[in-house]
Amino acid sequence: MKGDARCRPNGAPGTRWRPTNAMTPFLAAQIVLTLFVFVMLLNSAAIMVYVERKVAALLQQRLGPYLVGPKGMLQPLADVIKLMFKEELRPKAADAFLFALAPIISATCAFAAFAVVPFGGSTTLFGLLKEPLRLQVADVNVAILVVFAIASMSVYGIVLAGWSSNSKYSLLGGLRSSAQMISYELSYGLALASVLLVGNSLSITDLVNRQAGAWLHVLPRWFVFVQPLGFLIFLTAGIAETNRAPFDFPEAEQELVAGYHTEYSSMSFAMFFLAEYINMVTVSAVATDLFLGGWQGPFLSESIGWIWFLLKVAALLFFYVWMRWTLPRYRYDQLMRFGWKVLLPLAVVNLLATAAGVLYFQ
């Protein structure tokens, strides 16, 4: 006689999968995690607005925002409210559908890229869950490639914004910016490939776990010590990918009015802004996971390792802001020349050297 449902696993061939009691807290935890990540990304963009202005001010020996809230900390809130109340303009000759679509594409790709980035080890929420919950919205085993793929898709937001505004500054800014992004994607990808050679897996969680432990109990086994050149190339290409200084010629105020987002105002402009900051956070998070050991660190166990993760990402974001307000801007042809003639050969050499090293030290 056919075995009863009690003796066969849930969802075995021939039965229907039914949700069991043990699953509901886990599923609820997953949903809460997704919403939590979304809200935290929005918060991080707001915090970055404040941090950028304050750090810029301190680097330039002035005060920065100090009126709104204690030490000016409510300044991003004031900015958001101002942006929300501005009039939403659209040039008459602009293509309405593409004009509205471009900021949506930018913002969506920025959020989506963070979905596969793990920000902590497994945690059981202090014993509330029966199975450990991975602190990652989607656990894909080709996670690095997904990040890269969504970064390539974010080029469309910019190029469509430039085209649909029907103005010469926007079009030039959009084309230049997207040409810059696709040029630096090559070095970005080759730096990623070098890490993959060392780490032997495409899943970011595996790569972080490989960085556990320390050599001689002193130097942590982070990939930055194995791949210093790769780290520098990755970070440089990441800065160029997110259109930040010193590679921000296409959107610089002094050069092209405001580049591809000249014609945008109010919330659409806020979406581009948001997309830029969240891209910065994503690049920093991926760099932390791949090169700086992710959530590993002394004194803290794996389930609260996300504190270390936050500290490392904060350090990289500070580096981003520091670069912007310290270095002068590259001119566009210098920028493209740097990307193709300097960074790409360096990335290729790095990859070859890594491959040789991996073969030698088998």
Partner: protein
């Protein structure tokens, strides 16, 4: 199954709109949507590597190239004056023959597919590990790999030479 049908419908509708649109920019964007749906289908077929490569290469690079060319040429979207007023299968001469050939192809494909075929489920194990694909690519198919890299080099040089201004 729902996923399969939704991706399939998106892919087919987007492709139909690609060939029916006047404005080439909308055609390119609709084709990107179609590629996204195909990428979802590859995930359903247990091929995550191909799915991600499809997004990176096709939707992320080749379509950007198309979009650049359309924008830089400011591609006009009126074709002949005749096209504006007539639907596809009633146009003259070459176009009518072309439409007829397309319909013949559809009928042939329908005939071929109706001659039985597997209606059971997918059997066999799936190979979705990137490591296995990489290993096969660099050992069994190493020659094809190297030839493809020469092909890309030739295409790059050819594209630069062809698009150069000869003034």
């Amino acid at each position: 199954m729902i996923l399969f049908y939704s991706f399939a419908v998106i892919a087919v509708v987007a492709s139909l709109l690609v060939i029916a649109q006047r404005n080439p920019i909308y055609s390119v964007l609709l084709l990107i949507a179609s590629f996204g749906a195909l990428s979802g289908l590859y995930v359903l077929l247990d091929a995550p590597f191909v799915a991600v490569i499809q997004i990176i290469v096709y939707a992320g690079a080749i379509m950007v190239l198309f979009l650049f060319v359309v924008m830089l040429l400011n591609a006009p979207h009126e074709e002949t004056e005749y096209d504006e007023h007539t639907q596809m299968l009633r146009r003259s001469g070459a176009m009518r023959f072309g439409g007829f050939l397309a319909v013949v192809l559809v009928m042939e494909l329908v005939w071929a597919l109706s001659k039985g075929g597997q209606t059971g489920r997918f059997a066999g194990a799936s190979v979705s590990s990137v490591a296995l694909i990489g290993r096969a690519l660099f050992t069994d198919y190493a020659f094809q790999f190297e030839v493809t890299s020469v092909l890309i080099l030739v295409a790059m040089v050819g594209a630069v030479v062809l698009a150069r201004r000869t003034s």
